[in-house]
Symmetry: C2
Subunit: 409 residues, 2 copies
């Protein structure tokens, strides 16, 4: 009997009524003859409420205790969903992170799964029970409760699917699949039937928030087929797998965009001879996420280095740079806010050198200035003015004919 | 360094503000140089809210999953109290039931503690940390989460105190000690400085709800000194221990009372020759708690047996008896509602045969009819009409001079 891991996020289990709906949804898959493991998140706004209580008590609550607090959220959901399944006449058993054998690093609030001792879950499946597992949580080697950080429940689901040799991991969410771009803003944005792990990884990193990058990484490493589908409607979702058949007109598979970007530029004195890399070591140590980096090593004049950060980290970035001015040895810093990033993604781009050129050409024709560029094997990102973001995204979506339905197998 | 186990109930930790107050209270004891283990319940009405959610989903939720659900309540409190202690600059570490090594029977919703593997807690204490432990919960040998039933957090505290060889177990609650009777209704009811385990056990069983009987049993078995004291006021509470010095006028130590009692009377035919005991086996199997039993074996006429149950179990009792009429072989049943039980308790009663007589005499003089009587070594209970309950209790409190302050130690 094939095993299916299904995952339902916080919105899908926000009320007892929705939990009952999820139980019915699971029942359908169960009746098809699958062994089922259901991974769930905390109900709706539970996590926010717990965080609020912690903040009433301490300004910087200990991460260990925060994990103890937050993991109660999923524990509530697993018990209620198990009861709901039992009410439908299906045997079900709940598993907290430690009961499920999910062993993580000893890193409170952002641990990675080290291994899964899935014996107890496998036993429940052998007894034809549905195993209902708390997402987002685990236990470290010292017996401390840990959490996996943002998007952790998706990672729990994929890692369990890999550990159990499941046929597939289905992520049920409030959208019905992965789109070529955000349909709320981009004309003709269209759901994709298939997508490669790498494409999804790029999209996930580029602000298309359907899945957390770590869960896609785990799926890729284990070549675990993974779908993104709707909790509410019974329609086909998008399947992620290693190889997808890509037609010529599908070199670009998606357009992503993200606002609230700031470009920082650090100016050195002409006489500066040190390593410009020090600055990124310092920023990383202070947990500042730098995205695009453009290093301008000039033959004459002041050397500069530019990089982008999120608007939310601007003040922190300025403070860190100011605090390390003497060791970093720069002269002064400038920054430009109100920027956005627009990216095109597609596995076929590596073998199509003209794609980036076509992108720049179209942006030029639209009169959109490009402030920074970053490329990888399968994506090109540009930083533009915030006011140009949607114009650029729509133009690129059209340029690469993403709205055209094509045979995708 | 001596170890102290302190326990705070749901009312004492009902809000984040009260949790901070509890942390300050603990800090005082900690500064006196004790090693401290703090056992806590779920915040205020949390348990009721969780039960309500379960009832929205299932009419008879599985007991295993109910335990998974309810234990999140204490898990929230331990994390918040640990954060509150840390905010005061004290090292603290939270422990769920399974992290504290509290191993129970495999009986969901009403498990007894089998043993406590207190090594991890002891290690935290050795590192001068305050160990904050979730009351009411444990883990069975199969790794299931279990709960200890009503009053379970008191039991957790006393059992931990015994396992750690603590000096004392302090139960902080919303009353400031054990009283000779309920001060809300009984004139002159007075706080006792000391009380024996046996006296407290009788009081606990007789509806004086300060402590759960099981916790007192555990304290008695380990001769663990236990106090009941106020979470809010800094006053001496009542200490429970093996031997208390009892003066002559303190033969009776407390008056307890309980309403909503029903007397059932079962009538047999004159020809009946079977065992009247069958009826109690049948009731026990159906989870009906029978309290006082009066068996009237008559030489002539119909034999009868009378017993008391709580009003809340009346319908169930009638249904069980009706369903087993043929095997039990009785003729008919009568019952009388609107009754109450009034009891006097005192360790010295066993050696004072006049006590019961003095009780009956006083009730006779008050014009109060006694409908049933039950006695043990250290208590006498009578069933009276509900309207006579407080009159009887006040009269007995006065009769045995319980309001007189006497030298007790």
């Amino acid at each position: 009997m094939s095993t299916l891991v299904v995952k339902f996020g916080g919105t899908s289990v926000a009320t007892t009524e929705r939990i009952q709906h999820v139980a019915q949804r699971i029942q359908k898959e169960y009746k098809k003859g699958h062994s089922i493991v259901a991974v769930v998140s905390a109900m709706g706004k539970t996590t926010d409420q717990l965080v609020a209580m912690a903040n009433e008590i301490a300004t910087t609550p200990s991460k260990r205790e925060m994990d103890v607090l937050l993991t109660t959220g999923e524990q509530v959901t697993i018990s209620l969903l198990s009861m709901a399944l039992q009410s439908l006449g299906i045997e079900a058993q709940s598993f907290t992170g430690w009961q499920a054998g999910i062993v993580t690093e000893q890193v409170p609030s952002n641990a990675r799964i080290e291994n899964i001792q899935a014996k107890t879950i496998q036993q429940a499946l052998n007894e034809h029970k549905i195993a209902v597992v708390a997402g987002f949580q685990g236990i470290d080697a010292q017996g401390n409760i840990t959490t996996l950080g943002r998007g952790g429940s998706d990672t729990t689901a994929v890692a369990l699917a890999a550990a159990l040799g499941a046929e597939r991991c289905d992520i049920y969410t409030d959208v019905d699949g992965v789109y070529t771009s955000d349909p709320r803003y981009i004309k003709g944005a269209r759901k994709l039937q298939e997508m490669s792990y790498d494409e999804m990884l790029e999209l996930a990193h580029l602000g298309a928030g359907v899945l957390h990058p770590r869960s896609v990484e785990v799926a890729k490493n284990h070549r675990m087929p993974m779908t993104v589908r709707s909790s509410y409607e019974e329609v086909e979702g998008t399947i992620l797998k290693e190889e997808v058949i890509v037609e010529k007109n599908l070199v670009v598979r998606g357009v992503a965009f993200e606002e609230q970007i700031v470009r920082m530029t650090v100016y050195y004195n002409e006489s500066y001879t040190g390593s410009l890399a020090n600055i990124f070591t310092t920023l990383a140590k202070n947990h500042i996420n730098v995205d695009i980096i453009v290093q301008a090593l000039v033959a004459q004049g002041s050397p500069t280095v530019s990089f982008s950060v999120k608007e939310s980290q601007l003040q922190e970035t300025l403070a860190v740079l100011a605090a390390h001015k003497s060791t970093l040895g720069y002269d002064h810093i400038e920054h430009e806010s109100q920027l956005a990033k627009v990216s095109i993604v597609g596995s076929g781009m590596a073998s199509n050198p003209g794609v980036a050129a076509a992108m720049f050409d179209r942006l030029y024709r639209e009169g959109i200035g490009v402030k920074m560029v970053s490329t990888s094997e399968i994506k090109v990102s540009v930083v533009v003015a915030h006011e140009d973001m949607l114009k650029a995204a729509n133009a690129l979506h059209e340029e690469f004919e993403l709205s055209k339905v094509s045979v995708e197998v």
